[in-house]
């Protein structure tokens, strides 16, 4: 899709969501569904004073989680894709644990690592790392053998095979898997921020809810969604830039 089409698509969906929201607010006329405009005004008023710190915390957590998941998942996936033996040893493990609902592991993680930052990061990492591993592995396996052949006949060493073939060939797929994992990562982030912290958008939204401050609550939801959207776009742009050959 062209960049212009994408922006038009995004704008179109934004308009549709606002119209629907407005309509629901009109129909219900309840304080739990405030008007979009009121929420926007509220965001403008409280962002600098009350929300900024929470946005920073959440962004940092989600970015750190993705970074750790990439650092673990990409090399592991590459090894599994390149070396049949590594794949044979690790594949059953990955397949066996993949369908386990990771959120159910939350109590264990909390018991082992406490309520602080570590357990939050670990939750994000375990939930998205598997997708990254599997995508990286399959991307390497999908590289046609003749591409390796032409480089091997030139006498390329392992490092050159990695930098000239494996990394560029699989980068696009890996970025796509991260983009898909991002949605999940933000949901998990929200969930983990509802306990053991006073910072983060999850905390902000739940706190506003408990204080029956619906305007703040909606402001939090909108800002959290916008944050996810920005990360999504950032990966999209990175993909466009790094994989322009596709």
């Amino acid at each position: 899709m062209l960049l212009k089409d994408k922006w038009q698509g995004a704008l179109y969906s934004l308009v549709v969501v606002i119209i629907l929201w407005q309509a629901v607010a009109w129909l219900l006329k309840l304080p739990i569904v405030p008007f979009p405009w009121a929420v926007c005004v509220n965001i403008a008023e409280i962002f600098a004073s009350k929300m900024e710190i929470h946005v920073l915390y959440s962004t940092a957590r989600v970015l750190a989680g993705i970074a750790i998941a990439m650092l673990l998942g990409i090399p592991l996936g590459f090894l599994m894709g390149y070396y049949e033996k590594v794949d044979k040893i690790l594949s059953p493990l990955v397949y066996f644990t993949y369908p386990v609902p990771k959120l159910a592991l939350l109590p264990i993680v909390m018991l082992l690592f406490g309520l602080g930052e570590t357990s939050k990061l670990i939750m994000i990492v375990i939930i998205i790392v598997f997708q990254i591993i599997i995508t990286a592995r399959d991307a390497v396996k999908d590289i046609p053998p003749e591409i390796f052949r032409s480089l091997k006949s030139l006498g390329a060493n392992k490092l050159q095979v990695f930098s000239e073939i494996i990394l560029p060939a699989s980068l696009a797929e890996v970025l796509t898997s991260i983009r898909l994992a991002l949605g999940t990562a933000v949901s998990v982030l929200f969930f983990t921020e509802t306990y053991g912290t006073e910072y983060g958008m999850g905390y902000f939204i739940m706190d506003a809810w408990l204080r029956v401050n619906y305007l703040d609550m909606y402001a939090g939801i909108v800002v959290l969604s916008f944050m996810g959207f920005c990360l999504f776009i950032a990966i999209d742009i990175a993909e466009k830039y790094l994989c322009s050959w596709r």
């Binding site: 480089l151 006949s153 030139l154 050959w245 596709r246």
Partner: protein
């Protein structure tokens, strides 16, 4: 010079052991061009993989200038049927890949000469997917020649091209080859191509691959080859040998 003695390659499949190449013996002099012809599945490509150092599991000996094949120390140019270009690299980067892997200093003058000669000097910033098959094969040729290889291996490089661009590429290739005199092994299943490009023609048997015959090719470098009697005589002779298998 390439000295091949008792080269045998076996494959292990699930149920049985398959003999792909059976005791090949041949010497190829420096600066020679040999075409290898044989029915499909006769092990021609296997032979090439051994020579390019990709396949290491063989018995017998294969020496290039007295040394065991090692793509790290020898310069081997390999051109495959599907070009072997990296889709994420531009034409220029692809063509320079050999020199880059070998850590050789870039040879701008020579490479731009090759680009011009192959008619790809205006395509250098494109990606392979933006090129036609013939153009991609020109890039693969450029990569091989810029490397200044000790040995050039070609695995049916023009068979995916249409008839007109195939003949054009054969002529272009021969043209550059003459200037460089690289020892070349050219694998083909086309009698016409074997006659046009090979100073000597090696005929393979059907599987397991054995060398049936090595023929001096009187047609090599004759003008207007395809209109001459020698060409028809030789094609008939080659086809007979191939048919008898």
């Amino acid at each position: 010079m390439i000295a091949i003695k008792d080269l045998t390659v076996k494959y292990q499949t699930k149920n049985e052991e398959i003999l792909a190449l059976d005791r090949l013996n041949i010497n190829i002099g420096k600066g020679e061009i040999y075409t290898f012809i044989g029915p499909s599945g006769c092990g021609k490509s296997t032979f090439l993989y051994v020579l390019s150092g990709i396949l290491k599991d063989y018995s017998g000996s294969v020496l290039i200038d007295g040394q065991i094949i090692n793509p790290k120390s020898q310069r081997i140019g390999l051109i495959l049927q599907n070009y072997g270009l990296l889709p994420w690299k531009t034409v220029y980067q692809n063509a320079m890949l050999g020199v880059k892997i070998k850590n050789q200093p870039p040879v701008e003058e020579y490479s731009s000469y090759i680009f011009r000669k192959l008619g790809i000097d205006n395509l250098l910033n494109r990606y392979p997917k933006e090129l036609s098959g013939g153009q991609q094969q020109r890039v693969a040729l450029a990569r091989a020649f810029i490397l200044k290889p000790d040995l050039l291996l070609m695995d049916e490089p023009f068979s995916a091209l249409d008839a007109i661009s195939r003949e054009e590429m054969q002529e272009l290739f021969l043209n550059i080859w003459k200037e460089n005199n690289v020892t070349t092994i050219f694998i083909t299943h086309s009698v016409d191509e074997a006659l046009y490009l090979g100073r000597k023609i090696v005929v393979f048997s059907p599987s397991p691959g054995r060398i049936l015959k090595v023929i001096d090719n009187p047609c090599f470098q004759l003008d207007n080859l395809r209109y001459r009697d020698e060409y028809y005589d030789m094609s008939a002779r080659l086809r007979k040998i191939l048919d008898k298998g």
